[in-house]
């Protein structure tokens, strides 16, 4: 107890008083009292609700209270009773929301109406790694001389690789760099809907003009144009109109222009006529950087261990990676602290795939099948290399994904010692970090096990 702290001091006094008087007395007389201040001259000022209390304290409890405070310290000379103002008697409001920041982050979903761009996507939040370096350089070149260097710029890559982020960042940057010029971002699906609407309303001419006055047109996910001949034709004309006037056009797609099926050849050629860049799968360093950047933007610092774990165990898509980071951020805001590796592992597992009980035999089956070996050999005491590696992989997966104890894994896999299992798991874990092929293998096995 800190005897300089009125609140703690009073709480201590109350515990002592409670022992000496009846509960009814205690509840009646002490419930609404508190120490107002501790005077420098050793006088304790006790606040009471009314004259009734003051008189009764002086008459009945003064000696008792004095005895208690003297036992605490001889510094206390006397106790005086004050009748406090009514407002002060109210119980102090609990400060529940001290961390703040629990409000729904609706600001993030703000979209600029005039150009459709989401201001959240900027180059500041864009992580550049070897996988997207080329695309990033092309974007910078486009921004340096829009409409001239690479027109159109065609960016493709699998879903969740950051295509939308990159092209929107170009738009946002373009807006900042050339304040007078007009930018418009749309998805090809929106383009098709717009076109059909305008045809139905009989305003197709206005539709043509609508898109032609932009200095930078960004169209996302052009692969959805396939089989929509009229829209394709309209885009073809729009493309020509913009291209001829040196207006920059940027496309994105999940595959290269030539690989988009059912799209008019003349459009295909035009899409590929500028610069075509692909964004490949992010390497693990880039993924770590992404996780770190994403978490930091929400003011959450994660330990290296956690970052590494998330980056290595999530598959391809950056979107899923972001989802996981969001999950952790939410966890942090609710609990007030960043989760440790064990908690992350737990939530990541539930995040990536539904938790299900899987028999050891099933895992062994699948892995043996994957490596093309006889599953019986896993249980045998053989040290042939083609068996050892799969066996270690099995142990690693059983441990990491299904949290089976080391001794259990050992006994299930032909009565091996738990130290063997620990060694195997450590070994695989070490090797995953350096050996990309192994990491990919395990990733593939995991998908088989779902």
């Amino acid at each position: 107890m800190d005897k300089g702290n009125p609140k703690e001091l009073w709480e201590y006094i109350l515990t002592q008083v409670e022992l000496s008087i009846s509960p009814a007395n205690f509840n009646t007389w002490f419930r609404n009292s508190f120490i107002v201040k501790i005077g420098e001259d050793g006088v304790l000022y006790v606040g009471v609700p009314s004259q009734f209390f003051k008189d009764w304290y002086l008459k009945k409890f003064h000696t008792l209270l004095l005895k208690i405070v003297r036992e605490i310290s001889y510094e206390f000379r006397n106790i005086e009773y004050l009748i406090v103002k009514d407002e002060h008697r109210k119980a102090p409001k609990e400060n529940k929301n001290t961390r703040g920041a629990l409000e729904l982050p609706l600001d993030e979903f703000y979209i600029n109406k005039s150009d459709n761009l989401n201001p959240r996507y900027t180059f500041d939040t864009f992580v550049i790694g070897s996988f997207n370096n080329l695309a990033y350089s092309a974007a910078q070149a486009v921004l340096a001389r829009p409409g001239i260097t690479y027109n159109p710029l065609f960016i493709y890559g699998d879903t969740g690789r950051g295509k939308t982020h990159l092209i929107q960042a170009i738009g946002n940057h373009f807006k900042k760099q050339y304040p007078g010029r007009k930018v418009f971002y749309l998805t090809s699906e929106k383009f098709v809907v717009d076109y059909t609407d305008s045809v139905q309303a009989g305003t197709a001419n206005r539709f043509k003009d609508k898109y032609r006055h932009y200095d930078l047109l960004i169209m996302d996910d052009v692969q959805f144009l396939s089989k929509k001949e009229r829209s394709e034709e309209e885009l073809f004309h729009l493309f020509n109109a913009l291209h001829d006037t040196n207006k920059q056009i940027i496309f994105s797609s999940d595959r290269s222009p030539v690989a988009i099926p059912d799209i008019a050849e003349r459009l295909k050629g035009r899409l590929a006529s500028g610069m075509t860049v692909d964004i490949s799968e992010p390497d693990s360093e880039s993924r770590m950087a992404i996780v770190q950047k994403k978490a930091a933007s929400h003011g959450v610092m994660l330990s290296d261990e956690v970052i590494e774990y998330i980056a290595t165990s999530m598959s391809g898509s950056i979107r899923e990676l972001e989802g996981m980071v969001n999950n952790i951020i939410c966890h942090t805001q609710v609990k007030g602290s960043a989760p440790d590796i064990a908690e992350v592992r737990q939530s990541l597992r539930s995040f990536t795939r539904p938790q299900k009980n899987i028999s050891v035999k099933n895992v062994v089956d699948k892995v043996a099948d994957f490596y093309g070996i006889d599953e019986e050999s896993i249980y045998e005491k053989t040290r042939r290399r083609e068996v050892v590696r799969p066996r270690q992989v099995i142990m690693y997966i059983l441990r990491e994904d299904f949290s089976i104890s080391y001794p259990t894994i050992g006994s299930k896999l032909g009565g091996r010692d738990h130290t063997t299992v620990i060694h195997s798991c450590e070994k695989i874990k070490r090797e995953i970090a350096v050996d990309n092929d192994l990491a990919k293998e395990i990733q593939n096995i995991r998908t088989l096990l779902v």
Binding site: A24, N25, N27, T28, P49, S50, Q51, F52, F53, K54, D55, W56, K59, I83, V84, K85, D86, E87
Partner: protein, 366 residues
């Protein structure tokens, strides 16, 4: 202790005193009891709930001194069952009180009176005024209903009393309407102001005698002393808002109506008021009428038009009807004057010829 009291005196005293005992049973048993004291000052009854307290003298004979505390509800039940003839005697031995009412005899277990608190008296006797008890009684009962029932703002759930220049002013408001009543005093020397919780004021008003009493007060406590006892109350320790600022100084229309007309019109229009208890008041200068209109989507609508003397320009305002009818309890004047200062500004109601009352109602949104 051995006392003998007239049954009528006894039951009246019990009814007055037991009101001041604590009604919740969870607290100290002594607080929900009535203390009966026989001593040099005669026979007394005491009760307190730590907000208010009473010390009442009883006419009666006592042959030996003593103190007992009896649960108030029990005493109340006994008192109301007594027939009004003859004497009742209380005799106390050990922790049992024998109560003899002539025809019957009961033994009551007493409560330990050690825990019974002392009833505090204001420390500074300088702040005191003498006034008829009946006057204060009427003041408190009429005005207390205008105070706020919520305890969120302790000052608004209190009655503000100020004594200045021989006038006692009582004010109560719940921030939707405000009532101010003035009472002249015989002695003009005293000055002061205090806030008494409206709930306590009502309790005290019930127990005040009609004849002259001495009202004294200090910062935290006030007391009402009469020949047959003393009443005390805790005071609200807060600052009262400067209510004079909200009273409109100018007016654009004034209507004078008969109290009887207003009462009837309100009574009928109220039936048609909606869930917001809203009624519209129209001042019509051309026709010299004041009309009340209410519409309830479920029931229908109604208009009451009453003759009035209107001066100024026509105006329509909406009010909560409860706040309008409340004024009728505050004054006895035969005709009332309603003064409006414009849309969105409060309406002032006064009794014609009655300068003691000022009633302010804030309008509802149109």
């Amino acid at each position: 202790m051995h006392i003998s009291v007239n049954k009528k005196t006894f039951s009246e005293a019990v009814h007055i005193v037991s009101r001041f005992a604590e009604r919740r049973t969870t607290t100290l048993p002594a607080l929900s009891s009535v203390l009966i004291i026989a001593g040099d000052d005669g026979i007394k009854m005491r009760a307190t709930n730590l907000e208010t307290g009473i010390d009442l003298k009883l006419e009666g004979k006592h042959s030996s001194d003593g103190v007992v505390a009896i649960p108030a509800t029990l005493l109340q039940q006994i008192a109301s069952s007594l027939n009004q003839e003859g004497e009742i005697t209380l005799e106390h031995s050990g922790d049992i009180v024998s109560l003899n009412s002539g025809t019957g005899k009961s033994s009551i277990k007493t409560v330990s009176y050690d825990d019974f608190p002392s009833i505090p008296f204001p420390e500074n006797p300088k702040n005191r005024i003498v006034l008829p008890g009946v006057l204060l009684k009427n003041l408190f009962t009429s005005i207390a209903s205008c105070a706020s029932v919520s305890t969120v703002r302790p000052e608004l759930s209190s009655i503000y009393l100020s004594i200045e220049g021989g006038v006692l002013t009582a004010v109560a408001t719940d921030s939707f309407r405000l009532a101010e009543k003035k009472v002249p005093l015989s002695n003009k020397g005293t000055q002061g102001k205090f806030l008494i919780p409206a709930k306590n004021a009502l309790d005290i008003a019930q127990a005040l005698p009609d004849d002259d009493i001495i009202m004294s007060f200090d910062e935290h406590q006030c007391a009402f002393v009469s020949t047959n006892g003393m009443l005390v109350s805790r005071l609200t320790n807060a600052v009262y808002p400067d209510y004079r600022q909200i009273i409109p100084k100018e007016s654009i229309v004034e209507a004078v109506v008969l109290r009887k007309d207003l009462e009837n019109a309100l009574k009928r229009t109220t039936i048609f008021s909606d869930t917001f208890q809203k009624i519209r008041v129209s001042f019509d200068v051309k026709k010299n009428t004041l009309s009340f209109f209410a519409r309830n989507a479920d029931i229908g609508e109604s208009t009451e038009t009453l003759p009035a003397r209107i001066t100024g320009s026509s105006l329509e305002l909406s009010f909560n009807h409860r706040y309008l009818s409340a004024v009728l309890a505050l004054t006895n004047a035969e005709s009332l004057s309603l003064t409006a200062a414009g849309i969105g500004r409060p309406l002032i109601i006064r009794g014609v010829g009655d300068t003691s009352l000022l009633y302010l109602v804030s309008p509802m949104n149109q």
